[in-house]
Subunit: 213 residues, 2 copies
Amino acid sequence: MTDTPATPRRRGAARTEELLRVTLDLAAEVGYAGLSIEAVARRAGVGKHTIYRRWPSMAALLLDALSLVWASNLDYRDTGDVHADLREQFLRSSHALASPPIGPIYRAVIAEAQADPTLRATLHERFLITVEQSTLDRITRAQHTGELVAEANLEFAAEVLCGTLYYRHLLSTRPIDENAIDGLLDMFMAAYGTSTRTRVLCPPPGPQRPDAM
Amino acid sequence: MTDTPATPRRRGAARTEELLRVTLDLAAEVGYAGLSIEAVARRAGVGKHTIYRRWPSMAALLLDALSLVWASNLDYRDTGDVHADLREQFLRSSHALASPPIGPIYRAVIAEAQADPTLRATLHERFLITVEQSTLDRITRAQHTGELVAEANLEFAAEVLCGTLYYRHLLSTRPIDENAIDGLLDMFMAAYGTSTRTRVLCPPPGPQRPDAM
DNA sequence: CCTCCATCGGCACGTGTCGTGCCGATCGAG
DNA sequence: CTCGATCGGCACGACACGTGCCGATGGAGG
C-alpha cells in the first residue's frame, strides 16, 4: 500500500520529493514560462505554504530540482584519450542542457540569478564550480599522462571549456553541435596538447615523433 | 527655447530619446530590480501608453537603451600587438559590463532572453554577434600580419574569447580581472600565436626564427 | 487504541506589474 | 484657427507574490 499513487492522501517529508518531481514535470511540459510557485502548487494539489515551508523562493526550489537530474551528467570517462573523453562529455552535457527537464529549469535559474547575487553565488558554487572541477580533474589527469603540456594553467582552461558551452547555450541561437565542440577542442588541444597533429606550424625539431604510424 | 529642460511640456518623437535616457538613469540607480515599464513611466512622468506605443515590451526598450551606451565599447585598437590590443579591449569591456548603466541593463535583457527565444535571437544578433565580429576582425588582421598562425579557425576563437568573458560575468562570482584576462589570452596565444614565447614545449625546429629581433 | 499537535489543503488578503481601454487636455501641422 | 494625433492620468481584469488564518488530516507518543 506504500506505492499506490492513486490517492496517497498526504505525507510528511516525502512530499518534498514529490514536489521536486512535479517541478520537473512542469518544466518539461510548459517550459520556462509558467514556472511559478503557484503553478507548482496547483499542479501538485498543494497549498502554497507547503512549498514555502521547504524553499524560500522559486529559485531555491529550482536549484534542488536541478540537482535531482543534473548530477548524473558530470562524470567524464577516462579512456586515455582526453580529446575523445572531452568530446563525448561535451556532447552529452550540451544535449542535456537543451532538453526538456534540465534545459528550462537551468534557464529559469540563470535568469533569476541575474537579479540576485546571492543566488548567483549559490548557482555558481553548486553547479558551475562542480562542472569546472570535473573537467579540471579530467584534463589534469591528461597532463599527468603527458597528453597535455606540463606548464599549462589548466584551471583557466577548464573555465574556458565550460564557459564557451554555456555562453553558446545562453546567448546564442547557434546549437552546441559537433562542429562547435570540435572547434573548441581544436583550440584547446592546439594550446595545451603535446601531440603535433593539430599544430601544423610547429613541427617536431627532429626524428622525435614520426607522427604515430 | 528648444533646450530648456525645465518644463518642456511634451513633444513628438524626441520623447523617445528622453525615455531611453530615463531608462538608463533608472538602471544606474535602482539596478536590475525595479526595472519595469511602470517604473520607467512613473520616473519619466509619462503614461504607460507612451512607452507601449514605441516598444512592445520592456526587453525591447532595454535593448534600445543598451544600444545607446554599448556601441562605443566595440572598437579595438590596432597597435600591431594583438595580445596587447585584446587585453586592453577585454579590460574595457569587462569594466563596462560590471558598471552601473550597462551592467544592470545587460543582465536584465539576458534574463528576459532566457524566457523568449525571439528576444534571444535579437540580443545575439544586435550585440553578441557584433562583439564577436569586432574581435574576429582584429585577430584576422593579426593573422594577416603573421602574429597568428594561418590555419587557425578564428571564428571559433573569437567566440571562445568573448564567451569566456560573458560566462564569467553571468554565472560566476569571480570578477573579470587582469588575472582572468591574462589566463584567457595565454591560452589563446598558445593555441594560435606564432611567437614561441609562450610555447615552451615546442621550440622552433632550426634557425628559422631567432625570436623576433 | 486514543490523544495531541505538527502538518496539511484551501481560501483570502494586500501589493505589485502586466497589458489594455477610455478620458479630456495639449500639441503641432495644415 | 482648426482638427487630428499624441499626450498624461486613471482604471480595469488578470496574474504571481508572500503571508495569514482556518478546519481537517494523520503520524508519533502515551
